[in-house]
Amino acid sequence: MTGYSEKVMEHFHNPRNVGIIDQPDGVGKVGNAVCGDIMELYLKVAKEVIVDAKFRTFGCGAAIATSSMVTELIKGKTVAEARRISNQAVAEALGGLPPIKMHCSVLAEEALKKALDDYQNSKG
């Protein structure tokens, strides 16, 4: 029906880094303008390196899988490196997404941008 890749299904069934971080260094909460779904991303940053990332998502299989994948991709990266991760990169890392589901990966990218902004703003 949805034509998801095996990798998407694997991340959907076993999402990594689910949850929230107490006293996070950055938080990004976004809603998907297209279907109305919601994602929250929490970051822990030490010396400009993302040491931990967690998420919670209300959304479809692709939304959950991209949320999971984005946390995997940013862990261990510097804030500057994480900024360069696009929704396409997340989708590619999952072996692609059906065209109609690309907007779900935008949710992950936006949550990431917002969390990084939040980190940099609160740092002052």
Partner: protein, 391 residues
């Protein structure tokens, strides 16, 4: 892995007896019913016998049944055909907000051509009020079309009352009976309809064949023009094997309808009670009292429908959802949106539709599997704080 198909409102498997009845009409009795020779005659007699038995089942006259390619074609024919043939009389159509897209989209097309359409809203149980229908009637109303039972929520609409109102005002009344034909009694005299759509594949018949009942004297332009089959009401060579299969499926349904609704509704109630009891923040959509025997539609607070559907599919359970994420337009089902339910509930619905093969074990399996699935997705959901989750 054990598998359980609980999506019979989408489609049903062809019954073995139906397939068997159809088989001779591919290679042996292959004549065109429109041909004058004896090959044509054989096929024609078979089609007319099928037409007769379906007409009897509906309480209709034999010449009031037109075979089509399915529910969508029947519905399109009604909306466009009545509009075309009655445009001198008026340009106003009354329907409901929760019709199938095969009604709504042709209505939208007519609106673009200058017709006016009133979409009657539904009450808290997704029921159309006959009073609202009556209030919407104007001097220009040429058609009232209200579905018999809704395909998503399974509620059965008060057709007899609406039919009586339509008769009083002399307005043709159509019903989309795709979800009810062969499942609960449908008699065109009882519900006072002038036009009715049905489809074979919802009652263990083949896909690609349906019917349109047209009451004597109703003027309706054809959608398809050509060889003037079906008394000019629907041109196209008849789908002989499909029609034979449809008639066989109807014959079987007439029999199973005596016992099946009771058996199925007991399973339905068990599933509803079990899910509402086992999982908190679950909400049954639609009334229990005026509901198809095989329909369950429940919203699971805080979890999205496609994620639920995929999780169940992975465990061998098939159902469907009204969530925006599975629709091609990425919009929450218009049926769920017809009531102002919160977004996270509208996108959180699952529909289970039971069938002949469904038994107690299937229900038990859903009750065993679904609580864990919902709980897992709630751990991922921002709508649930860890403390609110069930353990």
């Amino acid at each position: 892995m054990e598998r359980g198909y609980l999506d019979h409102a989408a489609t049903t498997p062809v019954a073995p007896a139906v397939l068997e009845a159809m088989l001779p009409y591919f290679g042996q009795i292959y004549g065109n019913p429109g041909s004058a020779h004896s090959w044509g005659g054989e096929a024609r007699r078979a089609v007319e016998e099928a037409r007769g038995s379906i007409a009897a089942f509906l309480g209709a006259a034999i010449n009031e049944i037109v075979f089509t390619s399915g529910g969508t074609e029947s519905n399109n024919t009604v909306i466009k055909g009545i509009a075309e043939s009655n445009k001198a009389r008026g340009n106003h159509i009354i329907t409901s907000a929760i019709e199938h897209h095969a009604i709504l989209n042709p209505c939208h097309t007519l609106e673009r051509k200058g017709f006016e359409v009133t979409y009657i809203p539904v009450n808290n149980d997704w029921l159309v009020s006959p009073k609202d229908v009556e209030a919407a009637i104007t001097a220009k109303t040429i058609l009232i079309s209200i579905m018999h039972a809704n395909n998503e929520i399974g509620v059965i609409e008060p057709l007899a009352k609406i039919g009586a109102i339509a008769r009083q005002h002399g307005i043709p009344f159509h019903t989309d009976a795709v979800q009810t034909f062969g499942h609960i009694p449908v008699n065109v005299a009882d519900i006072e309809v002038d036009l009715l759509s049905a489809s074979a594949h919802k009652l263990y018949g083949p896909k690609g064949v349906g019917l349109l009942y047209i009451h004597q004297g109703i003027k309706i332009s054809p959608l398809l023009e050509g060889g003037e089959q079906e008394a000019k009401r629907r041109s196209s060579t008849l789908n002989v094997s499909g029609i034979i299969g449809f008639a066989k499926a109807t014959e079987l349904a007439a029999d199973t309808m005596k016992t099946e609704p009771e058996r199925i509704s007991a399973l339905r109630d068990k599933l509803i009670d079990g899910l509402l009891g086992k999982i908190k923040d679950t909400h049954l959509n639609g009334t229990r009292s005026s509901r198809l025997p095989n329909n369950i539609n429940i919203s699971f607070g805080g979890v999205e429908g496609e994620a639920l559907l995929l999780s169940l599919d992975a465990q061998g359970i098939a159902c469907s959802t009204g969530s925006a994420c599975t629709s091609a337009k990425l919009e929450t089902s218009h049926v769920l949106k017809a009531l102002a339910i919160p977004h996270h509930l509208g996108n959180s619905s699952l529909r289970f539709s039971l069938g002949k093969a469904t038994n107690d074990k299937d229900i038990e399996r859903v009750l065993a599997v679904l609580p864990g699935v919902v709980d897992r997705l709630r751990t991922i959901s921002p709508f649930y704080q860890p403390a609110e989750r069930e353990d």
